[in-house]
Amino acid sequence: MDINFLLANTLNGVVYGAFLLLTSLGLSLVFGLGRVVNFAHGALYALGGYALIVVMQQSAGYWLALVLGPLLVVPLAIAIERAAIHPLRSRPEIYTLLVTFGITFMIIGALEYIWGTGTTLVEVPSPFAGTVTILGNPYPVYRLVAAGLSLLVSATVFAFIQFSAIGLQIRAVTDDAGMAEAIGVNTKWLLTAVFGAAAGLAAFAGALGAPIFAIHPDMGSGILIDSFLAVILGGLGNLPGTAVGALFVALTKSIGGGYVAEWSLAILFVVVAIALIFRPTGLFGRGRVA
């Protein structure tokens, strides 16, 4: 297997990594802000896929549905936060994992009940249906477009966190919630809003990935594990770290998948395990994760 093969799978990894960043960012933000381990993130991703279908059925085009669909998920996520996560504020963070574990079951069950268990293929939207030649082989244009869009949205999120007033508050709370509250940041409101926004990001990813990965009720479980590994590797709550983590997970899967197929996942888990043993707070984590 030649260098072209390695390069092809590096490209595959980068494309998937860009996509993974979208789902990981929200997970990381919500943890950093409210110590919420959101196991339902994958289910919200799936909801995004179904929201896309719902909007497209109203004879909206793909691109319109890509924008509107995720917006449908946001209020639902906010309701989930208020009803199930907010009441757990005073309890150890592991309870948020448990409650969102249950919510995942509820969402998947509801999706199966309403839309059935089947898989829906979404056609690659025009005008990006074809391929371009990269490294001597055809490569789907839509993957490049989706990766570009993912990066664009992620960069916007980064910029928002870095430069906006609300972003400043988010960073302050992530750094030291008690202190931020003392200087007048409304952490409750902030968490609810960020949870909604993170769900929107996940839903957007689900809709954006639909023409590649198709839509079915359980579509979120794979991406959830990948995102978790990315966020853990990067250091929970650390956004630049999350970006590196996402890229790392994606490259391990694609390059590993190319060379040692069936072992690739095990290798990923071993690497994450080793990283955690030496850096329990992630490669770029600060302080202790209690």
């Binding site: 898989t119 293929l121 899967k253």
Partner: protein, 405 residues
């Protein structure tokens, strides 16, 4: 916790357990048949097809030994452990006369406990050859074709289709023992034309690394031993997205369920199946298939897929056996199953002498667009070759390695 509380809590649990009696035994006069299959998750359309086929066969049957037939469907999640629990429930609580449905992993798990359950199990959705060969059990029968039969059919196809025979072959599968067997077979049959294989982890959603691998190997035919359902849809979609379908012929080692073909739509025409267990277009040759298709369409409003046809055939064999035995005595039904021959939607069926594998034909051919949609289907498999069991199966069970006690 104080110890007295232990007593109280245990008492509560015990009461709950005692009160729990499950559904009432139902009408005493009915004959109960258990169906064990997948009812949730992305693969459950296969379960739906299995149940639908059994329902139609049951409706066509009418009363059995003068009694109504009652179907009891249980969710097994295609999980071996849960399947054992649910099979036990069907036997101990519902007193079923036979169990239908089940996939390979469940059927193998049931073989292990078959002597404890003591009920005829006729599976119609299990490929694993071991089930009716080295692991065979007195109680467990199979009506669909096992993997080694499909492998024999593949040889025939390669011999008859020079374009495939001279192709450069690559096996891409999920990491199931079945996939390994398919790979071994393809390698054995194609010899020097075999350019590689890869086995993806079970929850692979992004196939791009594997597509790169296939390309790097220069393959022009891909044997897809990929789980029938979402994963296969994802792979075919992504192979098309990457333009791989223009470079290589996609081959499926077993048939695609018709709901999957419907989802794939035009994409399905890139695929040839070398080992379908059933095909509804066999109705052109077999009146029993046509008769069943019509009843099925009336009842369910869709075309009878591979799993429906297969499960219906298994159901019919069980009903014939019960009629022949004259009772639902499990031993008698098993003895009757060994000897009956039944006209089913997949052709006339009987079990291999001294074995547990039905002498079932295989249906080979590409998927194509229908000029006139039929039973709601717009794409379907063309039955180019009906490959008889005599060419693919050892004549007796013991030749196949099945030693019945």
């Amino acid at each position: 916790m104080e110890a007295p509380r232990f007593a109280k809590l245990t008492l509560v649990t015990l009461l709950a357990a005692t009160v729990y009696a499950g559904p009432a035994a139902g009408q005493a006069e009915s004959i109960k048949i258990g169906v064990l299959t997948l009812r949730s998750g992305p693969m459950s359309p296969i379960g739906d097809d299995i149940i639908a086929g059994i329902e139609t066969a049951t409706r066509m049957q009418g009363p059995l030994l003068g009694k109504p037939v009652e179907l009891i469907v249980e969710e097994s999640q295609w999980n071996a452990q849960l399947a054992v629990t649910k099979a036990t429930k069907l036997v101990q609580q519902n007193k079923v006369a036979a169990i239908l449905g089940t996939s390979t992993v469940e059927a193998l798990a049931l073989v292990a406990v078959a002597d404890r359950l003591r009920v005829p199990i006729v599976t119609s959705n299990s490929g694993g050859a071991a089930l009716t060969r080295q692991n065979c059990s007195k109680w467990v029968f199979r009506t669909n074709a096992e993997d080694l039969m499909s492998a024999a059919a593949l040889k025939q196809v390669l011999a008859e289709k020079p374009k495939l025979g001279s192709a450069k072959w690559f096996t891409l599968g999920h990491d199931y023992p079945y996939s390994r067997l398919v790979a071994k077979t393809v390698q054995g049959v194609t010899g020097g034309n075999y350019v590689g294989e890869a086995f993806a982890p079970l929850d692979t959603t992004d196939w791009s690394p594997f597509i790169a691998r296939v390309r790097s190997a220069g393959a022009t035919a891909i044997m897809m031993s990929i789980t029938l359902g979402t994963p296969l849809l994802q792979f075919v979609q992504q192979a098309n997205e990457f333009g791989l379908t223009k470079e290589a012929q996609l081959v499926a080692p077993i048939g695609l369920p018709d709901w999957l073909v419907a989802k794939l739509g035009p994409l399905s025409t890139n695929i040839i199946s070398t080992g379908s267990w059933a095909a509804w277009r066999y109705e052109e040759k077999n009146p029993a298939t046509k008769q069943f298709n019509e009843v099925f369409y009336k009842q369910h409003g869709r075309v009878a897929g591979m799993q429906s046809l297969q499960s219906a055939s298994a159901t019919m064999m069980v009903y014939r056996a019960i009629e022949k035995a004259g009772s639902t005595d499990p031993q008698a039904v098993v003895r009757a199953l060994e000897t009956i021959q039944v006209a089913t939607p997949v052709g006339p069926l009987k079990f291999q002498p001294g074995g547990r594998q039905a002498m079932v034909p295989l249906f080979l051919g590409p998927y194509e667009e229908l000029k006139i949609p039929r039973y709601g289907a717009r794409y379907a498999q063309l039955v180019e070759i009906a490959f008889p069991a005599s060419k693919s199966l050892p004549p007796t069970g013991s030749d196949a390695g099945c030693k019945l006690k």
